[in-house]
Amino acid sequence: MIRAEYGIYKDAEIGTNAAHDAIGVVNLYGKYMFYSTGDFSFSANLGLKWFNPKNFWILSAEKRDELSAVNVYMIPVALTGSYVAADWIGLHLRLGYTFSTVDGALSEGDALAEGGVGGHEVFLQPALTMYPLEGVAVILGAQLPVYSGVYVNTYAETEVYPGVVAGGKVKEFQKLDVKEMNTLYLAVQLCWGSLNLRLTATKGLRFFNEHIKTVLPGAEVFWRF
């Protein structure tokens, strides 16, 4: 990941993941610290990700055209409370909600399917940040899902035989069992001026109710202006 963050004025910043932008995944997020006193601070976060395969230039032109009616949206919202316990350690707790959806139309042969699939998720994200050396941070955190649900809203139609067309519509919602599907991560962040490098090891990365149990490495470069 390659992120860029910019302080638009005191206590407020906006950012984007440039690596995602470069391949056509438009994303923007903002953070506003609305309360700060002594060792405590509280901030609000809002983001938006939008992706339409027609802008995904690494796909073939034919594939981009075929999928051009499909849109993927993700809107994360969060409230974060931080406590600086000492000059070398900080505690953070984030309460977040993410709305994600995929909608659009797909056709194959004489069949047409339109609709959407998406999800709602509420999660808690505690994190412990330690600063053992100048310009070095060690972060130990978790993402604990509190509630997760998915919906399917499908409309599809096909010609059964000449003069006869069959179709259907399904609108369903299901709460997912996400108990014990926590994600843990350990990160080391190195800072050189505005440039930051974060190396992460993540255990239990989750997508809806799928859980990857192996530890996954990750790297992130970001600039904070």
Binding site: L106, E108, G109, A111, A113, V150, V152, T154, A156, E157, T158, V160, Y161, P162, G163, V164, V165, A166, G167, G168, K169, V170, K171, E172, F173, Q174
Partner: protein, 246 residues
Amino acid sequence: MKIFFVLLIAAVFATCEKEEGIGEPPVDFNGIKASFSSPTGVYDQSTEKLLMKEIEELSHLYEVFEKIYNIYPDLKKLLSGAASQVSGALSTVSSPLTTYGYIKYSCPGADMKNPALDFKKGMVKIESDELKIENNTVSFNGYLKMLFEECLIEGDLLKGVSHILVESDGAVLDFELEDFTGETLFADFRVSMIVSAEKTSFLAYVGGYSFVVDFSYSSDGITASIKASNGQWSCEITQDSVKCDF
């Protein structure tokens, strides 16, 4: 990707609550069935003329249905309580699925032997919350709705909605015709019907009293019988006239 494959994906969420569909029937089907079993009208000379006119008009409506059935035997099977086979489009469905669904039948083309493939002669659409797909078969059980959307059948334009209860031996229909223009003219007309494999029965009203009129096809053409509270009679229907053995 065929429609039922899409629906199968959705069936993964089979335990979920359904949020939309055609809802509850707005008619009392049991009341309609009871009316068919005990007609209140009395046949006598004073009711004969009006009754003959009713039979003539209903026979025309019956003929229109038969013209549609000639092209879509599936539709009659469906209304007769039999599951409707709708070809290999269902081959991707391996487990039973119940959902909201519909089938649109294009109204007949100019030759009256084949459907108008472009749907420009209107359509008959059947909708149900209980569309069942199992073993490559579609069946509609319970309550369904049949909509006639500007369906042009030879000289007749048919527009309206029918609420239908499909049972194992046939279907009970409450048919609200907004418009039926052509050789016979109906507007804002409501008729109750029972369809089975052997016959189609209508409830005819004369002076506020009910008569049951059964129609069926035989080698001689359309035959009808009238059931009143004081007896039952057979009728012969030709293109020009209705003759009953009163």
